[in-house]
Every structure is written in C-alpha cells, then in structure tokens.
Symmetry: D2
Subunit: 134 residues, 4 copies
C-alpha cells in the first residue's frame, strides 16, 4: 500500500489517528513516522510517557506491515512487543523509523528506533500475527 492508501484506511477506522502519528516517508524496507507533541503525552518530570512511546512503536510496525502485506493485514494483531527505553525524551515531536526484519506468511517482524531530536530514545522489536490467507 502507498502512504495515501494507508491514510485512507486509517481515516476509515481511527478518525483521530493523525493526532498521534503522521506518516513522513515510506521506503522499500522502512517507514518514518512523526508523533506530534501534545501535553497529554507527558508524565511527571516533563518527559514523554513510556506508554506513548510503546503505542508509537506499535503503530509504526502496523503501518509498515500494511504497506508490505496490503489491506488484508488491517486485522493483524500484535503478538509481541519488546521495547528498551534508552533516554528520556524531551517534550517535543518524536520521530521513528521502522524497518522490516522478516515478512513471512504468518508473522511480520519489525525493528523500530524512536528519536527525540538527535537522541535515540527507544528501540523496539514488534511482531504482528497476520490473518490467515485462504
């Protein structure tokens, strides 16, 4: 799927998705997203919350899976997410790059690096279970 196709699918299912993640670029093996800063994402200490970063990584892996598998992957479900928090993100926009590690018939595995400015703030590995094909 292309960026406009993924955006159209998201508009249909999750009307407010652009508040949380925007697709910046789609390469052959990777996708780049932006998470616009909003104060609802903060936790005590003025840093962006862990759950916000986990949701961001999960979303990036989902879009990447859609891009490669197509709209039948819309009902794919996360089987596993492993995230390492590396440094505390500042209260600004974050970006992330997800790259395909493996695209099988049953599992799609992605690695996601989340950045806050120049800092690498988290690294995640995300596995999506794909819906059975007939």
């Amino acid at each position: 799927m292309t960026i406009p196709e993924i955006e159209a699918l998201m508009d249909q299912h999750f009307p407010d998705w652009r508040n949380f993640s925007q697709i910046i670029a789609l390469g052959v093996q990777d996708i780049t997203l932006k998470m616009p800063f909003h104060k609802r994402l903060l936790r005590a200490g003025g840093t962006i919350s862990g759950p916000a970063m986990m949701a961001f990584a999960d979303t990036a892996a989902y879009y990447l899976t859609l891009a490669h598998v197509g709209p039948t992957a819309a009902s794919a479900a996360t089987a596993n997410l492993d995230i390492h928090f590396l440094s505390r993100p500042r209260p600004i926009d974050m970006t992330c790059v997800a790259r395909v590690l493996r695209l099988g018939r049953r599992l799609a595995v992605s690695a996601v690096d989340i950045h806050s400015g120049d800092d690498l703030v988290a690294h995640a590995t995300v596995t999506y279970a794909l819906p059975p094909t007939k």
Copy 2:
C-alpha cells in the same frame, strides 16, 4: 508502601489515575490491579487495544516497585517492557497480577499476567531502573 500510601502518592502526581487502574490487593510478592472498562480503550473489532494493555502492565510493575522500594522509587523509569499478547480481551474490566522476580539495588524486574475474565490475555516482563541511592 501500603495501598493507601501508594494511592496518596498517585493522587498527588496523576490526579486521574483511578480511571485507568485500581489497586485490589497487595501481597508479600505480588499486587493485583483492575483496569475498569471504558470505551476509549477499544480498538476496531471491539477488543481492548494493545497500548492499553501495555500501559496496564507498566503501571502494575510501577506500583509493585513502589510497594517494595518505597517513595524514593517514584522517579523510577521503565528500562524494558516485553509483552506477549495471548488472546483478544473482551470489552470488560481487566485484572492483572504482577509479581516480583528480582529486586536489586539498581533494577526491579516484575512478571505481569493480564486476565480478561478467566482468559489469560497477556504476559509481560517489566524492568524498572531505580534512582541511585546515596
């Protein structure tokens, strides 16, 4: 810390925390929480979203760490969260039990089982990095 002490600390820092998680029981090695159902937690398909479960597991490990380490752990940060999604939770309250795997001077590691009714819906391992002590 006791349940009322954890609740008082949460009231101070995260005024609306009770909408997301309530402490049901605190044992010697474990803690039990409830996540009250709310339709904001749903994703397409009528199931509770992965990010809601990740936040729930992270919160349970945080309260368990507070209970064992005390209020100095309030500024502890998640270093790693690994979650396996096992079955899709129905749109009802969820509960989880977090148990202490290791309580060191620098890291607190917990295992978290999340249930929806009788179903085990997710298993997480969560590591908190503790603030340095003098």
Copy 3:
C-alpha cells in the same frame, strides 16, 4: 505426549540430550526439568553461563510444546526468546518450570522460571512457531 514418548523422540534425534536436560515432571499446564551440573557449563567467576540458561529455557519450552501438540511439533522452531537474568546461579544442578501461556494453531507461548536451589535465577518467555497443519 507423555514423558516416555518425549524421551523416545529425543533419543532418536539428539542422542546426548540427557546430559543437558532431564524431565522431572509433566503437569497439565507445566513441565519441570533438571539441568545436571557439569563444569563445561561454567563461565569465569564460577557461575553457570547465560547461554547454558538460554538453552535450558528453550529446551523446556520445546518439551512443553511437544507434550501439548504432539510429535508433529518436533519440527517447531523458536520464533522468539526473551530472558531476564535475575541472579548468578551457583555451580550446582538447576531446575526449571515451564508453563503454557498460549497454545494456538500457529504459536505456542511458554513462561519459564529457572531456579538454582531456592533462588529464582532467570525468567524467560519463549514462542515456538508450529509447523502448518493440513
């Protein structure tokens, strides 16, 4: 499969498997193994090596999957292994208990606790991808 059936299958494929792991008990949802101490398992410092514990956890999840799925799972492959090392094991026999978290048609997920005497020394979550059934 029963314990003797798993043992017979292992004898056939991995003649020296008993040097590394022995099946102690098989419950409805769990399996208990012993890893006999041998000095080849040691690393500098007189503690049992991390790779030995990883292999032990992987093996326990494999036997548990065989027990529940049957001999068709002999060709199952590990898709993911996540292990947290909790304390350094002494140079003695280790035991571990693996329990079923999820048994699906495509993935079998197990949690494994490794003990050295009374100490919990590692906690792993292991996912096996099952061979396709016709």
Copy 4:
C-alpha cells in the same frame, strides 16, 4: 579497548573463544563478528541451532561493551537478552553486527543483527549490567 586488547583479555579468560567467535571489525558505534561453522552447531534439519545464535548475539554485545567501557566491564553480566529468529541459517559461517543503543553508567544496551550469507537470520537486543564504579 582495541581489537587486540579484547583478544588478549579473551585469551586470558576463555582460551578456546576463537572457535566460537572472531572479531572482524570494530567501528565507532558497532562491532562485526564471525562465527566459524562447525558441525557441533547444527541441530536436526541441518540448520544452526538457536542456542548457538543466542550465544553469538550475547558474545557480540559483550565485546562491544568491552570496547566502549574498557576492561572494568569484563565482569559485566547479561541482564536481558531478547532474540527474534527470522529464518533458518544454512550450515555455513555466520556474521553479526552489534551496535550501541545506549551506554549508561549502569546499563549497556546493544542491538545485534545476525546474518547467514545475505539472509538476516536473527535480531537481538542485549542489555549488560555494568559493574559499579567507585
């Protein structure tokens, strides 16, 4: 530490380490290793065993930590290893590249990609707990 310094330290503690891993290159943020093929690494089906790949990833993260922290990290211990197996490696030499994700005072986190020829066969994230400094 440089490659010869790491090699000298390994020679001292693990005399046969070169049978399992050889250091090919050391960059500013990464290290490249080779695991020479040996039939002892095989499992049923003619593929290289999961435990061999786990040990390889763990070793690469260890050398990378040594390179960046210095000889005081010799007693560092793996706190967490998460590995995703992506495809079955053929019975040939494997290489891996480990890169630094975070180098803190207490934790060193690395990402490791393992290759068999042109195939990416595994991706791991490895956390080492560093010995306390005075």
